[in-house]
């Protein structure tokens, strides 16, 4: 087992194929660990990690916290709603104050794209990006690829379609980087208004017909419409969106092959995906959540091993 080529996980854009392989191999070991009667290892008992969430999160935050605790790290939590950020403190000041209390690693979610990169240049700690605006969400992309690898054996050569609000989605961007890095074929599908211009430059194809996209793919990653990030109306009505881009059982059954359904959560049942699909054997949504803990343990363990004493 080698070492990561980076000291921070800021985005999939900054890591290599070897890094991804190393993270997955390490995650395999941690997946075994979290299925033991006692799900904890003492590796990180002298490491302190601060979880800084400047934006709401349930799953990611819980998943990171569990991963940290199962590695025996000390954990401090911070959410912007109850902090001095409201009193006008800058990001660097907030983080430096926390670091002066001897914190080794920072897991941060922030509404501004590039917040993680900015922080990594100004503070002396290992930074893990847990989502920065519409930019990247690297651990989500890693756990998505890990789940595909677990279900289908490998990621290389697989056809993956990402459906929904691509424009506002950091999950989509990180997934595109991660899937292309591992040699998968990627299409994006959604209303023309929710697909960024020039996305073909990333090596993905655009498909605006959901049925055609599903007939092509091995894996469909269904994304939520991020209403909270929309300042204008991108499609006429939710009803029309559901008719054109919602995945239901009838559509799934009409395909002449079995495909794997993923969703990063939170699900808007009845909008991008119906309940009978989300709860079916095709969906690996809950596997993704379980794998999330193992993958985050691997990322934190590998980054921590590079922190000098």
């Amino acid at each position: 087992m080698g070492e990561l080529s980076v000291n921070h996980l800021l985005g999939i854009k900054y890591i290599t194929k070897e890094d991804v392989d190393l993270i997955f191999e390490t995650a395999d070991h941690f997946k075994e660990v979290i299925n033991r009667p006692i799900k904890k290892v003492p590796s990180l008992r002298d490491i302190t990690i601060a979880n800084l969430f400047f934006e709401n999160s349930t799953r990611t935050r819980l998943s990171f916290e569990l991963a940290e605790k199962r590695l025996s790290a000390d954990v401090v939590n911070f959410s912007a709603a109850s902090s001095s950020v409201k009193k006008g403190e800058t990001l660097i000041d907030t983080v430096n104050n926390i670091l002066s209390m001897k914190v080794d690693m920072v897991v941060m979610r922030h509404p501004n794209p590039g917040a993680g990169v900015f922080l990594s240049q100004h503070v002396n700690a290992s930074i893990v990006n847990a989502g920065d605006g519409a930019h990247e969400h690297p651990t989500q992309a890693l756990l998505d690829s890990y789940s595909i690898r677990e279900r289908l054996g490998e990621v290389a050569g697989k056809n993956v379609v990402i459906v929904g609000d691509i424009l506002h989605s950091r999950v989509a961007l990180s997934n595109i980087f991660a899937l292309k890095l591992q040699g998968a074929n990627v299409k994006v599908c959604g209303p023309q208004t929710l697909i960024p211009k020039h996305i073909e430059k990333l090596g993905v194809e655009v498909e605006t017909n959901l049925r055609r996209a599903l007939e092509w793919c091995d894996v469909a990653n269904m994304l939520r419409v991020q209403n909270e990030r929309m300042d204008i109306s991108y499609f006429p009505s939710t009803r029309e969106y559901v008719q054109q881009f919602g995945l239901n059982k009838a559509l799934l059954d009409s395909l002449d092959k079995e495909i794997t359904i993923m969703h990063p959560g939170p699900i808007n049942r009845g909008v991008e995906i119906t309940s009978d699909v989300a709860d079916s054997d095709h969906a690996i949504i809950l596997d993704q959540v379980q794998n999330g803990v193992a993958v985050r343990m691997a990322v934190i363990y590998l980054l921590a091993s590079k922190i000098k004493q």
């Binding site: 087992m1 080698g2 070492e3 191999e25 390490t26 070991h29 075994e32 660990v33 033991r36 009667p37 006692i38 799900k39 904890k40 290892v41 003492p42 590796s43 990180l44 002298d46 590695l71 363990y301 921590a304 091993s305 922190i307 000098k308 004493q309």
Partner: protein
């Protein structure tokens, strides 16, 4: 770098049979006993002992697992090289069982210390014993001694004991290597 042979294939064969017999003396039919090979190098010895017990001494079932101690080591972030993890495979409960740790070389005792912590994740064993092929006495950092021992070796710290198995190096042989 020079090396001399500590144990030949024939000597290893005899020692493995003796160790197996000593295990039988204490554990009889192995109903309540499990063998745990310590990754990465103890697993070959554990499998050999298991084979001898089953083939030559007709013990029907000898439960054998492998335990990786990487995440329990006390030198995380302290060693130059990144620590390399291996697989753990223990598909039985160790709760109330008599556990025998098996490793090829006992040196500082730190691996065994880690293994003692690691095994707790699989339950509370009734007792734990230690079987090693080579015991490098005088080099211990911790108060840990083997219960079953192949050969005691007095080696200085600059020397290295290398255990080769047919499974990983194409021959059964133990060398003392002068670095």
């Amino acid at each position: 770098m020079s090396q001399k042979i500590l144990l030949s294939a024939k000597e290893i064969e005899i020692i493995l049979h003796r160790l197996a017999c000593q295990l039988i003396e204490n554990h009889q039919n192995f109903e309540e006993t499990v063998l745990i090979g310590i990754q990465p190098r103890g697993i070959f010895l554990a499998e050999r002992i298991q084979q001898i017990l089953q083939k030559d001494y007709k013990i029907e079932e000898v439960k054998t697992g492998r335990l990786d101690i990487t995440f329990y080591r006390d030198d995380f972030r302290r060693s130059e090289k990144p620590l390399e993890a291996n697989s753990t495979k223990i598909d039985f409960l160790v709760e109330n069982k008599r556990v025998v740790f098996i490793d090829d070389v006992l040196y500082t005792g730190r691996s065994i210390r880690s293994a003692l912590t690691a095994i707790q994740s699989f339950g509370r064993p009734k007792e734990i014993e230690l079987l090693t092929l080579i015991d490098r006495r005088f080099s211990r950092h911790l108060p840990i001694q083997p219960d079953y021992n192949g050969r005691q070796v007095d080696a200085i710290n600059e020397e290295k004991v290398k255990v080769n198995w047919v499974e990983n190096a194409g021959e059964d042989c133990v060398y003392l290597v002068n670095k």
